[in-house]
Amino acid sequence: MDRKERVAFLVDHFGNPRHKGVLEGADVQMPGGSPECGGSVVVYLKGDGNGGIEGLAWTGQGDTISMGATSIIMERVRNEDVTLREVLDLDYEVFVDSLGRDVIGSRTRNATLGLSTLKNAARKYQRDRRTQTEKRASA
């Protein structure tokens, strides 16, 4: 993709966000960002109990880069059946490269808002699962 196509790709995701909405029965609801500064999102995550992702959705409002990039990462994770562990291994720099440095410029924080919140959601899910397991073991 050239710069024009990369911009069009982001703008398309901004105008037609994928997997946007509240996920009923989510295990984790993770907020991130700030409405005043680029944008804010809530990531809804439901795990499958075996390290995989059963359900993933998001809500939010903000600028073109933050909302477009959130939609892109959500679609990528869903389409490629990325596991929770793999979510935590996703590299911010690689993601920004894929969006295009010439498009994102210095707004890397906006571009990674969705991904960072998704990682936080994955961490919380794993933490909660560990706590449950420990409780069951000590019961």
Partner: protein, 289 residues
């Protein structure tokens, strides 16, 4: 919205604003007028924009990439040439967030002596609310010759030493940040830790008037009477005052600079773009909470 409605608002320099009607009538006058979109959301122009408008990105176009400063005169001349702006072109700015970044771009243009400038009252939101045409098409504007200008920072820009002198002289200052930043509770805006400061509070004696209070819900500027009530009635300014406005990096305060200079007619208003990221990090700088 028409020019008559702007006239009725009683500004000192009503010519500094144009209406959405005016822009609609002049957007094909590529020879004399350039409509410039400048947004906080830097891809909004790519989503859609006013036909025949060009984009100026406040980070990539107006800032020096290395030194904390604005672009140099050669780069400004080159940028103007690319955007088809000649030294006499009337440049009309519009943008998102109550024209916040539009006024910032206008302020930078003024540093280079480009004085034939105006803001479209109401900005992007107003244009869209009126159901006016937007496009994806990027216009091919004729490149222009722009002689390398001289940048004069003295009239409308304050450096830290200027602010220190202003403080000594008990000159009035307006801190346009949010009340939380002014009181020192917040050291930076949420999610902008890179624009933080080691100390919180405000410059002693500065009055707090958050910048967006100058705008109405529809994005247009409040009337001169309403603005006077805020800046003179509440913040204690008086016509003829030498005023310094500041925020965190000088962008929000450029909006207040525009309001005081053009809409209320204050002759000496300077924007301290070093703002709190400089003052709040400076050793020994006096701070009030």
């Amino acid at each position: 919205m028409s020019e008559q409605q702007i006239e009725q608002k009683g500004y000192a320099h009503p010519e500094a604003l144009v209406s959405t009607d005016w822009v609609a009538k002049h957007l094909n006058d590529l020879e004399n007028v350039r409509i410039v979109e400048s947004d906080e959301d830097v891809l909004l122009y790519e989503v859609e924009h006013i036909p025949n408008s060009v984009k100026i990105d406040w980070v990539e176009d107006l800032n020096d990439p290395l030194v904390r400063d604005y672009l140099d005169p050669e780069k400004f001349a080159r940028l103007m040439g690319e955007k088809g702006i000649g030294p006499d072109t009337k440049v009309v700015f519009y943008g998102d967030k109550n024209n916040w970044w539009a006024t910032y771009a206008l302020w930078v243009f003024r540093l280079f002596g480009h004085d034939n400038v105006a803001v479209m009252d109401g900005g992007r939101v107003k244009w869209q609310a009126e159901g006016r045409e937007m496009t994806l098409e990027v216009p091919s504007v004729p490149t222009a010759e722009y002689p390398t200008p001289t940048r004069d920072d003295s009239a409308i820009r304050a450096f830290k030493a200027d602010v220190e002198n202003h403080l000594q002289a008990n000159g009035p200052m307006i801190d346009v940040r949010s009340p939380g930043e002014y009181s020192g509770e917040l050291l930076h805006m949420p999610d902008y830790p890179q624009e933080g400061a080691l100390r919180g509070g405000h410059i002693p004696g500065a009055a707090n008037v958050p910048w967006a209070r100058a705008a109405r819900e529809d994005g247009t500027f409040k009337s001169a009477d309403e603005l006077k009530e805020i800046y003179e009635g509440e913040a204690g300014l008086a016509g003829g005052d030498d005023v310094v406005a500041y925020c965190r990096i000088g962008e929000r305060s450029s909006h207040t600079w525009f309001v005081l200079s053009y809409l209320l007619g204050y002759d000496k208003v300077r924007n301290y773009d070093g703002s709190w990221t400089e003052w709040g990090n400076s050793v020994g700088a006096p701070i009030e909470r």
